[in-house]
Symmetry: C2
Subunit: 350 residues, 2 copies
């Protein structure tokens, strides 16, 4: 066992229940990952009191860095970039740039986190646009899906880069050797879809790719377990993610109504409680909290604003794994297999 | 009570289990709708035997029309259009054109049905592109969603027309007086989304529309019951529909595993069986079978290829209601409230 450490900076003031959820989530993550250290950025006096109470077991594994300011959840990214230099989010990002931490996690304003990360940390060499990726549950383990909303319109170059980056994520965090990668489309036949997905299909089919390119999949394949990496533009990817959430919510609502409908169903439910809890756990969005900004120069993880301490701990876990298993190094290595230069004229054609 | 009849032509050879599912589904629909007559198009000898057995109660309410040919499920739409003139699908569409029927239903090849319908029946005046719409379950009744895949890219003119047509569908088939109509987007704020949805938002906001335009919704709002008509381009609309199906399928799978996990859960399930059946019924895709091609000169309904007799009966019900409640007339009346001419220069700008 190596004594290597992973240091993660966290915006302690971002999220609906910050800083409580962040401190409690950090405690859970430090219990899970003995090699994890956290740097907490935010209001020093507030954090010192909370940490003294909640992190007393981990005194040598956390540091508090004071920040005067906080990025508001509804702040425009451009404004946050200009005026948020003293914010906890910006300080956390700066600490990664300065080499004081390996990764940054925030449950704050998504657009601001993306804009500041791009400005401070830059993108990896040859990356056109960073994408947002997350793990989702399927019938057989998890899959990776991207882009979840960073780029509302994408050309085929972007989609191809997303395929490479998503594959690298599935290899490092999910441990797949040869992930099955597909483009999200409205049909599986080669002739289906818009110009961008058709061009990306042709390109990926003609390249020697470091993954198993299986072509097109449809929305109902995302959770099927038949694909490990689902690549989409940020518009349809976001629509798919949110629709899946809404459908799960609808079914939970129907289920809760069914449970309450009579004495016998309530009795039946009581007998089934433990396995229903297992079901609820498998669909718990907190379990899947932590979206990576792929293509950034360093590991940046966005937590859902409504994440509780379990959610924060999982987001820290995603950042930890991405650092520990060398996600960014793999992206750099594997993107060399994609002839970017050759693709640039095609981009200009659009 | 009027003696008015609704005559629906149905492609008896289209669908995985045709013609059985079609004949049995017709029987169910004729039981439900005393004013319904059906014209069945397909292989005459095969249909005569089946109908003699299954439709004996409705001898004066069905007719069989012979067609030599069938459109294959994987036939290219352009080929079906050129070579399918003797097909059951084409004959069923032609019968509507000739005034022998009020609507057409098919569970066959979607692209071929769209291409043939456009060619034979034409679109309504000023309609740029027909859209595919369906009803979906929500926490409070049903909503209408469109486009589900007819148009993989749409400009703001198309999206605005979809809003008008979807509203007319919600008024006629779902009985809403003032449906809440929204554009599907990746966020609710005005600045979110791509160029097309932003332009459509501005346009609908500035017009006096015959519905309650509530702005943008996200994927998780589709099933929330807070919106009656969800408008999307055909790419993201199709992705949302299929993702919802896949998520429901995933949860059903988890649920079936949870049910089987121990003797107590099996006993609990036995006690809950009737309410679990109610739950399954509410999510049964057959219940929502029947997608309308909006903007066609006549009522055209596409059934899922895998529809069973219940599904076919529901698709016939959608066509019946669209005719009975004057859906196309309402579209024509209300589209006059949208200044199409003024919108054409904007289209050329893209």
């Amino acid at each position: 066992m190596t004594a290597r450490q992973v240091i993660i900076s966290i915006d302690a003031m971002g999220g609906d229940d910050a800083p409580n959820s962040v401190i409690n989530g950090s405690a859970i993550a430090m219990m899970r990952y003995p090699n994890l250290k956290v740097k907490l950025f935010g209001d020093k006096s507030q954090l010192e009191n909370l940490c003294a109470e909640k992190l007393s077991k981990y005194q040598d594994r956390y540091e508090i860095e004071h920040s005067d300011d906080v990025v508001a959840p509804d702040e425009k990214p451009s404004v946050a970039l200009r005026k948020g230099r003293a914010s906890s989010m910006r300080h956390a990002i700066d600490s990664v740039k300065n080499g004081d931490a390996d990764a940054v996690v925030s449950a704050g304003n998504t657009g601001a986190l993306m804009a500041m990360s791009k400005y401070v940390l830059k993108t990896l060499p040859d990356i056109h646009r960073p994408a947002i990726a997350s793990m989702l549950p399927t019938k057989r383990g998890d899959c990776v899906m991207l882009d979840l909303g960073a780029n509302v319109s994408c050309n085929e170059d972007h989609l191809c880069q997303f395929a490479f980056m998503g594959s690298a994520l599935a290899k490092t965090i999910l441990g797949f050797n040869n992930p099955r990668v597909a483009l999200l489309n409205v049909g599986e036949e080669e002739v289906k879809g818009n110009y961008e997905v058709q061009q990306a299909y042709q390109r990926l089919n003609s390249l020697e790719v470091p993954f198993d390119f299986i072509g097109f999949v449809e929305g109902n394949d995302i959770a099927s377990g038949n694909v490990d990496v689902v690549v989409a533009d940020g518009f349809s990817g976001n629509v798919a993610l949110k629709t899946a959430e809404g459908t799960a919510d609808l079914i939970a609502y129907y289920l809760s109504q069914a449970m309450k409908s009579s004495f016998l169903t309530r009795l039946g439910y009581a007998l089934m409680r433990s396995s229903m809890k297992t079901l609820a756990d498998r669909l718990n969005p907190q379990l899947y909290n932590g979206a990576l900004f792929l293509g950034m120069g360093n590991v940046v993880v966005k937590s859902h604003g409504g994440a509780n301490e379990q959610g924060i701990a999982n987001a820290l876990g995603v950042a930890y794994d991405a650092v520990w298993f060398g996600f960014n190094d793999l992206v750099i290595t594997e993107l060399h297999k994609m002839p970017i230069a050759a693709s640039l004229p095609a981009e200009a054609d659009i």
